[in-house]
């Protein structure tokens, strides 16, 4: 009953070998492909018959679109809507992968830090590159808030730079650690149920606890996808409106 065992990456079949590095199709890649296919099916199925009165599938797609669009518009303004494809893809990708991970015997892709760091760096580099492209050297104003007394300015600037640079760390570790901790908790409580089951029928009533935890995990899966999306919106908004 090793609770870490579920996060093991297995090679399903090898693809190539470059130098000493083996490139293989892993279960992580498999579940990313499954998630991508589910999103594609949802979006294609919803937009194939564009009815005025939406059906079930179409309302799901419309609701998720409206949800992300409202979030982006309220944090980054209408100017931020040019980043809508990025934010929507991130939100749907993380949400679908998180929810797939709750199903027993599946693999949670977002519980690996390499995946979340890649996503967070994508956002971070987009913010830096777009900020410098749009504002030039005025982008540095982001770290020099106006209205701060001069004698305290070096300290404030130092803190602002430090907090800006630590963003990709907290952005990625939040998602990764939440998923990891949640799945370990589920596994540990599952182990408790089998231990209690040895006591007889009354012990099996303990199985209600993991059921409640799974419901909580479903909430966390949605909330973390939303948090990732809203933080992306806030960071993008700073790149768009730097120096205001």
């Amino acid at each position: 009953m090793d609770p870490i065992h579920q996060f093991e990456i297995k090679n399903l079949f090898p693809i190539a070998r470059i130098g000493g590095i083996e490139i293989a199709f892993t279960n992580s890649a498999l579940f990313m492909l499954i998630g991508l296919l589910l999103i594609l099916l949802l979006m294609l199925g919803a937009t194939s018959s564009r009815a005025l009165v939406p059906g079930r599938l179409q309302s799901v797609a419309e609701m998720s679109y409206e949800f992300v669009a409202t979030t982006l518009r309220s944090t980054a303004g209408t100017e931020g809507m040019k980043f809508f494809p990025l934010v929507f893809s991130l939100f749907m990708f993380i949400l679908v992968l998180n929810v797939i991970g709750i199903i027993p015997y599946t693999f949670t892709v977002t519980s690996h830090i390499i995946i979340t760091v890649a996503l967070a760096l994508l956002v971070f580099l987009t913010v830096v590159i777009y900020g410098f492209w749009k504002h030039g050297l005025h982008f540095f104003k982001l770290w020099v808030p106006s209205g701060v007394p001069l004698y305290i300015m070096p300290l404030v600037t130092f803190i602002e730079v430090l907090s800006f640079l630590s963003r990709p760390v907290s952005h990625s570790v939040r998602l990764f650690a939440n998923m990891l901790a949640g799945h370990i908790t589920l596994k540990v409580f599952g182990g408790f149920v089998t231990m209690l089951g040895a006591l007889g029928f009354l012990g099996w009533l303990g199985a209600i606890v993991p059921l409640g935890l799974t419901a909580l995990e479903l909430l966390v899966a949605f909330l973390q996808a939303y948090v990732f999306a809203i933080l992306t919106c806030i960071y993008l908004s700073e790149a768009i409106h730097a120096g205001h």
Partner: protein, 75 residues
């Protein structure tokens, strides 16, 4: 001291940090609820800020949990 025992004790101590995050998250939601009851019409507009504050606070608790998990399983 046995290294395994030291690891277990260290993991337990690391988890104390989560209490601080608990206080912070409780403060955020409590103040949101108090303000929302005073002015329910403005509550919906601050939902994004609520979740943002929650996420930033919760991350710190998760960091200490991460240290505990690293001590138990990775190191």
């Amino acid at each position: 001291m046995d290294p395994q025992a030291a690891k277990m004790i260290g993991a337990g101590i690391a988890c104390i940090g989560m209490g601080g995050a608990g206080v912070g998250v409780g403060t955020i939601f409590g103040h949101y609820l108090a303000a929302a009851l005073r002015n329910p019409s403005a509550a919906q507009g601050q939902f994004g800020n609520l979740i943002f504050g929650f996420a930033v606070t919760e991350a710190l608790g998760i960091f200490s949990l991460l240290i505990a998990l690293l001590l138990l399983f990775a190191l």
